[in-house]
Point group: C2
Chain length 178, copies 2
């Protein structure tokens, strides 16, 4: 079994805080050291894989683009398929879309309309839960497809932004809460 | 051992061709069915992992964003770290950048300047080799960091675009060549 407390401590020591990115006043949490370190990366994936090994999950759904890194490796380890939620304009086939508010303007996320069948049991993963806008938009698409959202996982949650309020009713988990 | 001919045939049967995306006259190769199918996804990753298991690769480098899906799972399976090449504006720390031409305008890719050390042995992966612009730009960044590019891998190559000409001198491989 992966020791969660040790993993959290490891993540905290490697996560890089970058002030004033992408805009003044924001402290960006840089996860690239976590995925470059083979042991940390493996421990994160094994932690999630142990957690969901017996849950009969059909697909891991990952959010463009850092969610692909954790999500694809997790899907592989669990021996299941990976389904992407993409930024606007990237998916070529028939799709569904929803928009959410950013500090300035809006962003749109999309899924293929045949990405999931009704009742498919999924875990949604992204690297970061900040304001919750992109994850809530992903949830909205998954609800449109009638997917069974078993859980939502992120590596880092900015607790003071209270993004999980936008995900009420779901099992939202984060390895590290700042 | 993964049977490459069987894998290629499987990929060919699942790869979805979407006409006139993202612009008229282009036939887009949609890889989402390959990663949704747990067996195909696993076979692709295992094929690459077998190929590089004994090559002492330090890192898998994947290109934003579909290269993250294959690259992160491969890095995990090999027990090594994953390093992203990102589109402009996404990486928060000190970085290097290079631009390449698109049909209209240019695009920029970036890496953190500490993403790799001189001599790190890497495999560069993306889903598609088309005109070769983005992969050649990634190679330019890797050369700036003095990485040892052991091989370049893609799932699908559009051979008629002759993109591999931009990658001359490197070991460029594609599972499916159209």
């Amino acid at each position: 079994m992966i020791d969660k407390a040790q993993l959290v401590s490891r993540i905290n020591s490697e996560l890089r805080s970058i002030p004033d990115f992408p805009s003044p006043g924001i402290i960006f949490k840089d996860i690239t050291p976590l995925i470059k370190d083979k042991e940390t990366f493996a421990l994160i994936i094994k932690y999630f894989a142990e957690k969901y090994a017996d849950a009969n999950i059909d697909y891991i759904v990952g959010v463009d683009a850092r969610g692909f890194i954790f999500g694809a490796a997790l899907a592989y380890e669990l021996g299941i398929g990976f389904v992407p939620v993409r930024k606007a304009g990237k998916l070529p086939y028939k799709k569904i879309a929803t928009s959410y508010e950013l500090e300035y303007g809006t962003a749109t996320v999309e899924m293929h309309e045949d990405a999931l069948d009704s009742g498919d049991k999924i875990v949604l993963i992204d690297d970061l839960l900040a304001t919750g806008g992109s994850l809530a938009a992903a949830v909205e698409l998954l609800e449109q497809l009638k997917a069974d959202i078993f859980a939502i996982e992120t590596i880092v949650e900015l607790g003071f932004l209270d993004g999980r309020k936008k995900l009420e009713g779901y099992d939202v988990n984060s390895l590290v809460i700042e």
